[in-house]
Symmetry: C2
Subunit: 171 residues, 2 copies
């Protein structure tokens, strides 16, 4: 009886560990104040563009989920289709130690996302916004109203479906 | 008998079409003067870093095949393991039309690659180099000696396995 209980107990522990591992990327990351969860697998998404902002001294890779990348390659991005998720990976800009005329990523600043669901996020241009700060991925914003800051900043590009990024050309 | 022949014939035609489609991305692209073929699927590779070079006014996304991305994430890049392929997607830098302090990709300039095979490419630091120019992907270099230019430029970073890129940090 003892060995059976031990076996059941081990199975539960083992399953729990496995369950944790499967979600390890994101289960430990808190949801944003507006309820948006960190998109899974975003570090494996394909690149849509890059940018260098001198106003806040950052370098960026703009990546997208499959839906977004497909839309970008077809040129069907105004509007982006529902289900598209754009991710921006942001680093502090640094001068390359071996090439003085090159600016490259330094410290990781944040990952931020735009999730297209025209109906669900109608109040903010059809996009849900969320951002996670630093390598410990702390959700940005004190409460759900933080999205007004995102939406406000993106309003000047309303004519491009609220997106600054134009997919970079590829052969 | 006629229908069997037709069926066989259809099968051959169908297979040929499928075979062509599978290679469509690169079959029309000429190999580099040193015999290196354009790596298949490179537009779907994951991002390892980004850069902005002000000396030649370009923006870059540095991507890698699975072997390279795995190595980058494990921090096992000095040396990079055999089979690693690094790709650099290069665009002319432009000021963003809607954000004056942002530099973004304009015209596509070229895609260039470093292929790690320590033995095969021993004469050039263990790396095979190749580059394809523009959206029509014309191989760079008049003859195989073009690699001396690549190798020469990368020699200052011999201590980093001849690679300028340091993988960008991610959470």
């Amino acid at each position: 009886m003892k060995s059976i209980l031990l076996s059941i107990s081990s199975t539960i522990v083992f399953s729990t560990v496995l369950g944790t591992a499967a979600w390890a990327g994101n289960s430990s990351v808190a949801v944003a104040p507006n309820g948006i969860a960190l998109p899974e697998g975003y570090k494996d998404w394909r690149v849509i563009s890059v940018s260098h902002r001198t106003d806040n001294n950052t370098m960026r890779a703009i990546v997208g989920n499959d839906k977004a990348v497909e839309a970008a390659r077809k040129g069907e991005t105004n509007p982006w289709p529902d289900g598209s998720v754009l991710g921006k990976l942001v680093w502090k800009a640094e001068i390359d130690a071996n090439w003085a005329a090159a600016t490259v990523p330094g410290k990781f600043v944040h990952a931020e996302f735009m999730i297209k669901e025209a109906k669900k996020y109608e109040a903010t241009g059809g996009w849900g916004f969320a951002r996670w700060l630093g390598e410990d991925q702390k959700p940005y914003g004190k409460d759900a109203s933080f999205v007004q800051e995102c939406y406000g900043c993106h309003t000047p590009v309303k004519g491009n479906d609220y997106v600054f990024t134009h997919p970079a050309k590829l052969p």
